[in-house]
Symmetry: C2
Subunit: 120 residues, 2 copies
């Protein structure tokens, strides 16, 4: 496999995937939109308070460019903008799920480790 995208060359699906979803907050954003959709910017901000607004908007723009999410602007006052996952974006569900599952596993693992130390 060889694919050219955004002036770069990727030799595996993995590398392509990482270039698209590897951004600092992208998995978190996708996780939000898998749980509930569509979401407005302010709603995503409430769900991800640890992300500052500028970064959130930048990562949303990149996801939109890559067609992972769609952005719908309603010409009303006050402004209303809705974000949701595209078809290809929805297919990221297994990625997000497996990450969540592993994270839970790892959390348990850390607790066991802490127990061992506590026992000693």
């Amino acid at each position: 496999m060889t694919i050219h995208y955004k002036e770069k060359t990727f030799f595996t699906g993995k590398d392509l995937a990482l270039s698209v979803i590897g951004g600092r907050w992208k998995i978190a954003i996708i996780w939000c939109l898998l749980q509930q959709s569509p979401l407005r910017l302010s709603e995503i901000q409430r769900k991800l308070p640890e992300v500052n607004q500028r970064m959130l908007i930048r990562q949303l723009r990149e996801l939109e460019e890559d067609k992972i999410i769609t952005r719908s602007v309603y010409p009303v006052v006050p402004p209303k903008v809705e974000y949701q996952l595209s078809e290809i974006g929805l297919l990221l569900e297994p990625v997000v799920t497996s990450i969540c599952d592993w994270g839970d596993n790892f959390a348990e693992f850390l607790e066991e480790d802490a127990d061992k130390i506590a026992v000693n």
Copy 2:
């Protein structure tokens, strides 16, 4: 869930997972070690030529600290160091697999897109 790790607090397994495997080259390293294990540093370098040595070693160190991989040093001349996935590290297989699968899907999606443009 609330877990404290490395002086930070995580409220979801997902956030914990991302803090551990979110590094720039970590998924790539884990992918290597899932394919073949153990691997020596020079072998990983050959498999991931796009990563420079200093970054590779840093990310390996972090993965080792988080107990995702193990590092075995053999006291021989010339030096021999082997890296392999730990038990919890091996459990990342579904994460890596789902990322690879999605990446392949996304590559197809891009090609279809290119076709549409070509047709017009």
